[in-house]
Each structure stands twice: as structure tokens, then as C-alpha cells.
């Protein structure tokens, strides 16, 4: 069976040592995909010729001594909602059938400038709406750890591709936990940067005030390399913060002495929580203490309102962001339409899946006359209270630790029927999006053979210190080295 690809740092070392060429890496990735992805369905599209060309160019640069940076020659996958010029961009939806973007997302420009090789596009919940990748119009992705289980969502394809060793790293997007939750379910590291840290230009918008692109990889160090490449102010994104790219790689401070880790009591309740997860997370916290950190209990009193606020704000913004998909200028137009209304209604109804329609309807309702104040405005006010909760908590600690999810990867098909139950699985992740905080999930153990994620949250702009804490943990533990048996090479 085709071997798993190494992680980013290991691939770098091998390339530098001449043990492997970039072209060979791509070939290995393609072979691996061939071997395992038929079953897993992490990828929606592979671009073998283009990737080999990019890899060959990297090898030539290496030979000429003109490497572009640490990611030169490293294969990377893109979530299907990040556009690349000349390539299809579908957001795992029928409504974008045949659409090819004429421009590169900002992160793609930066990856290319860094010399990375783009292998292909990964599966996701349609328009990033979902927590299992079951809402993809092109079929679900399977969790590499147990094939009848969901990989999480919406970046399930990216998380699975890394977990299955097809690529060393992938980009995903996180609006309410869509990088962190699949990272937890798939046993990889997933980072959602501070809001505005990474440009959203070229990310197909779901909820504009919540979306962020971030890396998924095996280690915090790998994520740091990717963050350095893709972050930094972009004047073409009005919500981009005026900061330069991060300088995280090689600068992660793994000395935890004196650092205070906050444990929010609202996240450590037993009701609704898998006891195995609680156990793994507590053990992880103990590990941080052993590394020199202090812990203290903090409170985020408005936590229980976070999911409600999130769904009101996210769906409202989404209902507006998705209005452009109307069959008129690109994407799929329904056949045989005779009036404009028919074109709109049928193109959208045939092109969007059920979850997308549900959220568009909810969002439309929430903004509609008579309901705006009670729903949308109210939710934005609760959001302010959540931000204040974190500000207060961070006065007494440097980083907050929580479980990423209340349960491990659930079986495919388990959640599809009841929307509220599905939404509640985001309970630990949505607050970071609402408050704009950086958040990372890293593997900290297993429950019944399924990975458990530890989530760390930082103050706004504390992406690098956050990665440092994650890195410190990984230097002392081996959870991130575990690989799924079923997809083992």
C-alpha cells in the first residue's frame, strides 16, 4: 500500500537532504490518494499534471539554490471553498457546477509565492454549512480512523486528507468550528487564526464576520509554517487586520513556566459530555501543569447562549452572501426556465441542498421586517457580552483550555435528522468565532479508538503564543504521532 506522506517538517528535512524530490512527493501523494481516497473521499479534485509541474519547478529552484521559503515543494490541499484561478470552485455544491474562478484567493497567491504545490481540492459540507461533511452534494467523506464515522465538518475533507497521510497539510475554513472540530475528530492539528489575521479574499463567504481560513497539519510547528505563509494584511479585504505575516515557525516559545491556563467551568460539565473526552482533556491539562503552567478556573457565563447567537448571526449573513447564486452569471441554471422568477427559484432550489436552504430561510427570517431587533440585533448584543466574558477571563490567564467537542466522531447518518442536535455539537467552538479569538485543536488522546481534541483559545492576535503552548504540549506527548490503522500505509 502506498506509504503515508510525512508531515511538513519531516518533508522539508527530506527535501533538503535530497532524500526525496518534490516531484516524488507529489507522486507519492497521488499514489496514496489512489490507494485510500476511493474509500475515504477526501478529495473532490486532483490536479496531477499541474502539481507535477509545480513540483518540478520547485526542484529546479532547489537545484539553483533559489528556494522561496520553507514550504517550497510541499504538497498542500485546498478546501473546495477557496478559489484558485483556472480551477473549479464548487463549495461541494451543485449550484456551482462548472464554475471556474478567474482569480486566485489571497492565500493561494501566498502559497504559490512560497513555492507550495497544490495537489487538489477537498470535500466539505456544502457552503461550509455543517459539522460532518455529510452535507456535501458529492457524498460524504469517511473518517480515516473508522470508516463508518464522520470526519467532522465542514473541513472534513482537509482533516481526513491530512489524517490519512495523503498530504502533509491542508487549508480549511472555520466559521463556527469547521477547522477545529474535524481536526479533533481526525486526530490532527487545526488552527483558526484571529479574525482578520488571514485574508478572506477568495474564500467563498458563508458568514463574513465569522469566517477564517486556517491550516490543518500534524503538528503545531507545521501549522506555524503555514500560518507564516498565508497570514498578513491584505488591502483587498476590508476586514483584514493591519498586521504583517506572523513569524511563528522557529519562534515558538515552548517554555510554559509562569503561563496561566484558564479552565472555564462552563466547558467542563459532565452532562452531555463523553467521560472519556473529559478524562483525556484533564490529563492534557495536567501535562501542561507538569510543563510549568499554572491553571485556574475561569468563567464564561454567557457560554450557553453562544450557539443560539451564532446561528442567528451566521445564517443571517449567509442568507445575504448566498443571494448571488441565482443562475444568472455563473454556475448552474435550471433547464427550461421561461421567466426570471422561475430561473431564480428553480436554479436555487435545485442547486442548494437541504441544510443550505434551511439556513438561508432562517437567515432571511431573522433579518426580515419585524424580526431584526428581536433576533439579529439581539444576537449581536449577546455577542458583545461573550466578548466581554473572554476579556474578563483573559485578565487572569494567558490561554484557555477546553475540550474541542463534547463527543468523539459520531457515526455517519447519526445526526442528520434533528438540526438543533447537530448545531449543539459546535457548543465549544462557536464562541471563538463570535469573539474573533484564535483557537487551535490538537490531539490529546483516544476514546474507543477515536481521537480526542484539546482546544486552546488565545487573546486576539495571540496566534503565535497559542501555537507555542500547543507546541510545548506536543514536545512532551506523543498523541499527535498516532495514525489511524485503517488508513495506515
Amino acid at each position: 500500500m502506498a506509504a503515508r506522506l510525512p508531515g511538513v517538517s519531516e518533508a522539508r528535512r527530506a527535501l533538503a537532504a535530497g532524500e526525496q524530490s518534490a516531484v516524488a512527493l507529489v507522486d507519492q501523494a497521488l499514489a496514496r490518494a489512489e490507494a485510500v481516497d476511493g474509500e475515504l473521499h477526501c478529495f473532490l479534485q486532483l490536479r496531477p499534471e499541474a502539481a507535477r509541474e509545480e513540483a518540478a519547478a520547485s526542484d529546479a529552484r532547489r537545484a539553483a539554490g533559489s528556494l522561496r521559503g520553507p514550504l517550497d515543494g510541499i504538497p498542500v490541499a485546498l478546501k473546495d471553498n477557496i478559489v484558485q484561478a483556472g480551477e473549479p470552485a464548487g463549495c461541494a455544491s451543485r449550484i456551482l457546477d462548472g464554475y471556474h474562478s478567474p482569480f486566485d484567493a489571497s492565500v493561494v497567491e501566498r502559497l504559490k509565492a512560497a513555492g507550495a504545490v497544490i495537489l487538489g481540492r477537498t470535500n466539505m459540507d456544502e457552503f461550509a454549512m455543517g459539522s460532518s461533511t455529510e452535507n456535501s452534494a458529492l457524498g460524504p467523506t469517511r473518517n480515516p480512523w473508522q470508516l463508518e464515522r464522520a470526519p467532522g465538518g465542514s473541513s472534513g475533507g482537509s482533516a481526513g486528507a491530512v489524517a490519512a497521510g495523503i498530504v502533509p497539510a491542508a487549508l480549511g475554513s472555520d466559521t463556527g468550528g469547521s477547522i477545529r472540530q474535524p481536526a479533533a475528530f481526525c486526530g490532527v492539528v487545526g488552527l483558526k487564526p484571529t479574525y482578520g489575521r488571514v485574508s478572506r479574499l477568495g474564500l467563498v463567504a458563508f458568514a463574513s464576520s465569522l469566517d477564517q481560513i486556517g491550516p490543518l497539519a500534524h503538528t503545531a510547528e507545521d501549522c506555524a509554517l503555514l500560518l507564516d505563509a498565508i497570514s498578513g494584511h491584505d488591502p483587498r479585504d476590508s476586514t483584514s487586520i493591519p498586521e504583517p505575516p506572523t513569524c511563528a515557525a522557529g519562534n515558538l516559545v515552548s517554555d510554559l513556566s509562569g503561563r496561566v491556563v484558564g479552565l472555564p467551568r462552563e466547558y467542563f460539565v459532565e452532562e452531555g459530555m463523553d467521560p472519556g473526552i473529559l478524562g483525556c482533556v484533564r490529563a492534557a491539562v495536567a501535562e501542561l501543569e507538569a510543563a510549568g503552567a499554572k491553571t485556574r478556573e475561569v468563567s464564561l457565563p454567557h457560554t450557553r447562549y453562544a450557539v443560539a447567537a451564532y446561528y442567528l448571526i451566521a445564517t443571517a449573513e449567509a442568507s445575504s452572501n448566498l443571494a448571488r447564486f441565482d443562475g444568472s452569471r455563473y454556475g448552474r441554471r435550471a433547464e427550461g426556465v421561461h421567466t426570471l422568477t422561475e430561473m431564480y427559484e428553480r436554479s436555487r432550489s435545485e442547486g442548494f441542498g437541504a441544510e443550505v436552504k434551511r439556513r438561508i430561510l432562517l437567515g432571511t427570517y431573522v433579518l426580515s421586517a419585524g424580526y431584526y431587533d428581536a433576533y439579529y440585533r439581539k444576537a449581536q448584543q449577546v455577542r458583545t457580552l461573550l466578548r466581554r466574558d473572554f476579556e474578563a477571563a483573559f485578565e487572569g490567564c494567558d490561554v484557555i483550555a477546553t475540550p474541542t467537542t463534547p463527543e468523539p466522531a459520531f457515526p455517519l447518518g447519526a445526526k442528520s435528522s434533528d438540526p438543533v442536535t447537530m448545531y449543539l455539537s459546535d457548543i465549544f467552538t462557536v464562541s471563538a468565532n463570535l469573539a474573533g479569538l484564535p483557537g487551535i485543536s490538537l490531539p490529546c488522546g483516544e476514546v474507543e479508538g477515536l481521537p480526542v481534541g484539546l482546544q486552546l483559545l488565545g487573546r486576539p492576535l495571540d496566534d503565535v503564543p497559542l501555537l507555542g503552548v500547543a507546541d510545548a504540549f506536543q514536545r512532551r506527548t506523543r498523541h499527535h504521532l498516532a495514525v489511524p490503522e485503517e488508513a495506515a500505509g
Partner: protein
């Protein structure tokens, strides 16, 4: 103020959309263009491609602030862009980026004057920034509409007046004033023919003295000042007739058919969309410091209002003349140039009269503007001075105006070359008078018989014989003396 309708008070409010004079669009870097083939000026932002994001044009903000200051508005230091959500082919995002609860400008006003009536102050409720839609072309196919997004995203300001206008003529005056100030401060070229200034009107009727407003209708797509006034007149008639018959006005959106001078229903209000306004999460609130606002205010050229006041103060002009002169920058410039070129003596009022009467008439006759003209302030001053000094008759000076206007020239030289110098001395005029008296014995007798009007006839004859050069006052004096009456 004369009543627009004998039985009803007419209440009119205007919503004007005006294109700002920028080179690129409001949130997209595509060029602002006119008349190019469809979709030749688009970026992913204008096309609303997946992943595209808006970024605000700095110049558009500056021009919008200028427009607001020119309209005497209070510029808000914090304003918010909001999405107005609806579906239409020329609205690619499915929403228009506009401003809703927190617009850029509030509480302005413009003073207008119609005919001889006293100036009236018309309130401006708000001015906000928004992007224009593209164009839907309906008439090129029986089954298809063709969409051109060149115009999608062009920067606009929407200027909303209070319902303070009371007649179609006032509406016309308001629009002309608005256009003048927008051009003066360089915010817009405001050319209605190019669609840079578009006007929608809200109009309702009520009985004189009634406090409550009547049901209003909205007139849309009025694309010339003349059509605005015509359409309003037609709508007043229609509503008045309806009310006279005891009917009720239905709230509706109407278009105006200029060929038939009639309004037609575009849609009734039941079909109005719920726009679901909310602050655009892709954009940051617009914050403008007080200092910046003052900097922009200080950089504005003199506005018509201020100039009008100054003309009255400095040159002693009547309000009406000052107002007319100050509305056009070119006219005002010519006026002041002429006044300053006047050697000693105060000819300001005469210069004003000559400009507003003779020059304007000559321009109108050729359908020309002052920009086409070659008349200098110096030349105008000379001409007026010569008339005042009696060195050329007013009539002959009047005849020289078109030439001076369109070909330029030196009035002194022209008068000399053409022998137009006025005759006002006894020695030149007396023989002419004698000739005329001798040639018209009946008129002389008539005058002696008590018909004083014969004098005018005889005067005319002297003027003719002198080829208009005779000083009328002097001729009258000599005639009277010789006729002995």
C-alpha cells in the same frame, strides 16, 4: 407664492441619485465608464464572483463629503454601510451596498427661488453613499433581457429632500440648484443625459390648510428637468381629478410617458420587497475626523449661495440678479472679470444687466454656453463703459454682442471701424433732424395738432437716418425744441 393648484396644496419630495466624479467604482477598482460595450469594465467584485470582497474608494468619500457640505448638511463622523437585499438581474450580489440607519449626511438645506417669489428654504433629510446597479436591456430580444454590469458599482450619492416643495416649478428650481452646487464643488458632472443625475419624485395633494399629508405616489425614471416638471403637472391633474370625483389616490409607483404626457402604473405598493437591511459585515464603519471634515470644507470653491450674498454686498446688486449670476461659475467669473476691468466708476449693476439680458439671450439663440464663448471681462467692461458714456447707443452695442461673444474682439476698435460711434452733439444731429422734419410734413403737422405720438415716429426716422448712431435723448431734445412743443 402662486398656488400650483387652486383647490389643493401640492406636497412634493425629491430623491435624487447623483453619480460621483470618480475614476473607479465605489467598492471595485474597475473604471467608471460610459458607452462602452457590455461588461468591459468589471472585476470579480462587480460580477459578484464567489470570494470577491469590497474595498471603499477614498475619493468617493471625499466627493460625498463635498456634496454634503455644499448642501449644508451635518457630516456624520461615523456612518455605516448596509446591505439592501433584493433580487434583480442588474444587481449581481443580490444586494446593494448602501447606507441605512447611519448615513453620511443629515439635516441639510437649499434655498431656491422661482420667478419673482421670495426665496424658500427646502430641507434635505439626508445624503448617503451607495453603489449603482448595472443595466438591464429589455428591448433587444423578445425573450431575453441582457445584462451589462459596466455601471454596477459606480459610486452614487442619494439626496433625499424633505417634502417641502410646493409646485413643479419649485421642484425644477431645486434640481437646478442641486446640480449647480454639485458641479461647483466638483462632486459630480451631474449630466442628466448621461444618467449622472436621476430624479424620483414623491407627490401628494391635500386641501389647503389641512395638516395631514395625502396619499402619495412615486414618479420614477424622470430623466430631464423638463420631464420632471411635466410629469408632476400631469400627476397633479390626475390626482386632483380623482379627488374631485370623491375618489382615493392609491399608493403606487408610476412612470411618465412624455409622448402622451401621462403617468402609468409600474407597480403598486403591495408588491414592495422587504429589504432586510443589516450592516455589511465585509466593511468597516466609515469614520471621518472632524479635522478632515474641516479640511474638506476649507478646500471647497465658493458656493453659489455665498457668492450671491457677496455680490449683493460688494457690488450692490439686487438679490435676483446676484442669484442668477452666481448660479453659473462661468457667468460669475465673467461678471467679476468685467467689474474688475472697469476703470474707476461703478458699472457693476450695468454689467450685470448686460450679462443677464444681452449675453444670455445671444447664447440661448445659438444654443451655446459660455464655455464656447470668447468674450472677455475686459471687452464686456469696455462695451458697457462706452454705452454709459454715450459713445455708442445701446442698440448698436446690443448688435455687437454676438460677435464679441463668439469671435471676440475689441469693442473700441469695432465701433471705430464700423463707424458706430454715437452721435450726440448738436452739430451732427441738428442737420439730420432738419432733414427728417422737412421730409415728414404730415407728422409735423400732426404733432402741432396735439398728437404727441408723432414725436416718436419722427424720432424713429432720425434714428434710421443716423443708422442707429444718434443718441436718442439728444435727438428727442432737439426735436422737441425745433417743433416748439
Amino acid at each position: 407664492m402662486s398656488r400650483a393648484h387652486p383647490d389643493y396644496e401640492v406636497v412634493i419630495g425629491l430623491e435624487v441619485h447623483c453619480q460621483l466624479r470618480t475614476r473607479s467604482k465605489l467598492f471595485s477598482s474597475a473604471a467608471v465608464s460610459y458607452g462602452d460595450p457590455p461588461n468591459h469594465h468589471t472585476t470579480p467584485v462587480c460580477l459578484a464572483l464567489p470570494g470577491a470582497l469590497p474595498v471603499l474608494n477614498a475619493e468617493a468619500v471625499e466627493l460625498a463629503v463635498r456634496a454634503g457640505l455644499a448642501a449644508n448638511c451635518s457630516i456624520q463622523p461615523h456612518s455605516v454601510f448596509a446591505r439592501k437585499n433584493y433580487f434583480y438581474p442588474d444587481l449581481p450580489k443580490g444586494y446593494q451596498i448602501s447606507q441605512w440607519e447611519e448615513p453620511l449626511c443629515l439635516a441639510g438645506w437649499l434655498d431656491i427661488q422661482v420667478g419673482e417669489a421670495a426665496p424658500r428654504r427646502i430641507g434635505i433629510t439626508r445624503i448617503h453613499m451607495e453603489e449603482d446597479a448595472g443595466k438591464s436591456l429589455h428591448d433587444q430580444s423578445a425573450t431575453e433581457t441582457h445584462v451589462d454590469l459596466n455601471r454596477a458599482g459606480v459610486p452614487l450619492v442619494e439626496i433625499v429632500s424633505e417634502p417641502d416643495l410646493r409646485s413643479p416649478e419649485e421642484a425644477g428650481a431645486y434640481l437646478r440648484k442641486l446640480r449647480a452646487i454639485l458641479r461647483t464643488v466638483g462632486a459630480s458632472d451631474a449630466d442628466m443625459e448621461k444618467g449622472q443625475l436621476r430624479c424620483d419624485a414623491n407627490i401628494s395633494l391635500r386641501r389647503h390648510g389641512e395638516k395631514q399629508l395625502g396619499t402619495r405616489t412615486e414618479l420614477k425614471n424622470l430623466n430631464s428637468f423638463r420631464f420632471v416638471e411635466q410629469a408632476l403637472h400631469a400627476e397633479i391633474e390626475r390626482q386632483a381629478e380623482l379627488l374631485d370625483e370623491g375618489g382615493e389616490v392609491q399608493q403606487a409607483t408610476l412612470g411618465y410617458d412624455s409622448a402622451r404626457d401621462r403617468s402609468f402604473v409600474m407597480r403598486t405598493k403591495e408588491n414592495a420587497d422587504d429589504y432586510r437591511y443589516f450592516p455589511d459585515p465585509d466593511l468597516i464603519p466609515l469614520v471621518i475626523s472632524q479635522q478632515r471634515i474641516e479640511e474638506i470644507r476649507a478646500s471647497l470653491p465658493e458656493l453659489p449661495e455665498a457668492r450671491c450674498a457677496r455680490f449683493q454686498r460688494e457690488y450692490g446688486l439686487a438679490a435676483r440678479d446676484a442669484g442668477l449670476l452666481s448660479e453659473s461659475r462661468a457667468l460669475a467669473k465673467l461678471f467679476e472679470g468685467a467689474v474688475r476691468a472697469t476703470p474707476g466708476g461703478d458699472l457693476a449693476k450695468s454689467i450685470a444687466k448686460w450679462l443677464l439680458r444681452d449675453v444670455v439671450a445671444a447664447l440661448k439663440e445659438r444654443d451655446a454656453t459660455l464655455e464656447d464663448a470668447r468674450l472677455t471681462g475686459q471687452a464686456l467692461a469696455e462695451l458697457v463703459a462706452m454705452v454709459e458714456a454715450g459713445r455708442v447707443t445701446a442698440n448698436n452695442a446690443h448688435r455687437l454682442v454676438p460677435e464679441l461673444l463668439f469671435e471676440g474682439g475689441d469693442p473700441e476698435a469695432l465701433v471705430r471701424e464700423r463707424g458706430l460711434a454715437a452721435l450726440s452733439d448738436e452739430a451732427s444731429l441738428a442737420p439730420l433732424v432738419d432733414e427728417v422734419l422737412a421730409a415728414n410734413p404730415e407728422a409735423v403737422a400732426s404733432y402741432a395738432g396735439g398728437d404727441k405720438k408723432s414725436l416718436n415716429f419722427l424720432m424713429g426716422q432720425v434714428m434710421k437716418r443716423s443708422q442707429g448712431k444718434a443718441d436718442p435723448a439728444k435727438v428727442r431734445e432737439i426735436l422737441a425744441r425745433k417743433l416748439g412743443g
